[in-house]
């Protein structure tokens, strides 16, 4: 029996909001994106609700919104481009926020691949299904992204 849209939305909204926040880097933008995607899904629920994995379909919708709206999705979260006032005693604040800034500057598809791998825990096949590309392309995105993100660490160590 197809789940009602209300039950589906109730169960999926929080994980979608968390995913969209990680993808866009902006909680408010994430709310707008998820709201718009759920509204569209609501209108098409007769079809979407019958899919094997409507949750995965919604995640693809959110991802496609992020990938397709270049200018409107420019990340300007409060933490991007701003150095923290003081490092926390363990240095974790510095490291985490520095990494978030580096991730924010990745090309869009690389960033999406990184989020799907390291936040959602998806494998190559699952990432390929979301991004609509081959697994080889997924591995290329991840490899290039990690190379960029690790290069920053090497520069930091050298200093």
């Amino acid at each position: 029996m197809t789940t009602s849209f209300e039950d589906f939305a109730a169960g999926q909204v929080t994980p979608l909001l968390r995913y969209a926040t990680v993808l866009t880097g902006d909680p408010h933008l994430a709310q707008d994106v998820v709201q718009e995607c759920l509204l569209r899904a609501q209108q098409r629920w007769a079809r979407i609700g019958g899919l094997d994995a409507p949750g995965a379909y919604l995640k693809r919708m959110v991802t496609n919104e992020f990938l397709s709206w270049r200018r409107r999705f420019k990340v300007h979260s409060t933490l991007t481009g701003i150095d923290p006032p003081t490092p926390d005693p363990a240095g974790r604040y510095d490291e985490r926020d520095a990494m978030l800034r580096r991730i924010a500057r990745l090309p869009r598809k690389q960033k999406a691949a990184v989020v799907l791998r390291f936040y959602e825990g998806y494998d190559d096949a699952e990432i390929a299904a979301v991004l609509g590309c081959t697994q080889g392309t997924v591995r290329s995105h991840i490899s290039r992204a990690l190379s960029t993100l690790r290069a920053a660490d090497r520069v930091k160590e050298a200093l």
Partner: protein, 329 residues
Amino acid sequence: MNTEDLIRDALRRQADLAPPPGPVLAALHRPRRRRKPLYLVLATAGTAAVVAIAATTFSRPTADAPPAGSNRPPFSTVTGSPSPTGVPSGKLVSLEYAPTWLPDGFVEWRRSLFDHGWQRTWRQAPPDHSPSAPALTFEITRGSIGSLLESADEPANRTTVNGAPGVYTDDGLRWQVADKLVLTVNLDNVPDARGTIRRIAESVRPDRRQIRVPVSFGGSTRFTVSANSRDDWTASTDVSYRDGRYMAMLHSVAHVGSSPRTVTALGREASYEEAGGGVLTIPLAPDRFLSVGGLGLSGFQQPVPVETLTEVAALVEVDLGVDLSWLGV
């Protein structure tokens, strides 16, 4: 910590900034909310916030801090008993800075206070929250733009705002207004916006007005107020308690699920919904409801028992007289 672990850690931290689900769910049901109750679902985690609810009447105070001895209504707190016993906390926070000029038609619909600063959003009325709609964002952030200035790839992107060093970004302008204090103006989905952005930035002045935190837990001042209209708004805060995380929301429109169960919580008749992980909704006053649920990582979890949510609710502090005079203005 290797790079991949640091990536995971950083992304999880970012995910923790996710907004509450209530406003999104409310928007899905908005056309029918008067005929069919809304369904607010908060995936649950393990902390309880106590909500103290005063049975006093409330008014709408001004944004200015009240002078000593004023007749302004007290901060309303909810205790676990029918009559309030707690001492109102009434945390006040300063707006710090604010733009004094805005383009025609932009009105404020959202305010967030994070640990690192403010974020305020204006849109054209009635609020169009779609990502393609014009949106103005003003942010106050603790930190410096030193590295951003150094990495500015074009000299034309470096600038000053009222003498303070700044840099243009793709959709905005960011400047170091004071030591360890950065201001940002972003204007999205407006063509040729740089001139407008500069005018907004140059209009920013210190704003010493203080407002009360509308919903709080454990002394935290983090909150978000967002609205679909002036009479349909939500004030929320995240709660970390023991080993879990919850969301506490003060809202003006009742959100009732598809199969609610009437329960008693904090001496009041309340509604508990198991579906979606469990959410407890307690009516506090006319057009004032408190909902508590958990923050989880995936849907369809085991619902948090009403007893646990009641414990959480008992620790949340709310301001029934929350000042929303800025909404839609």
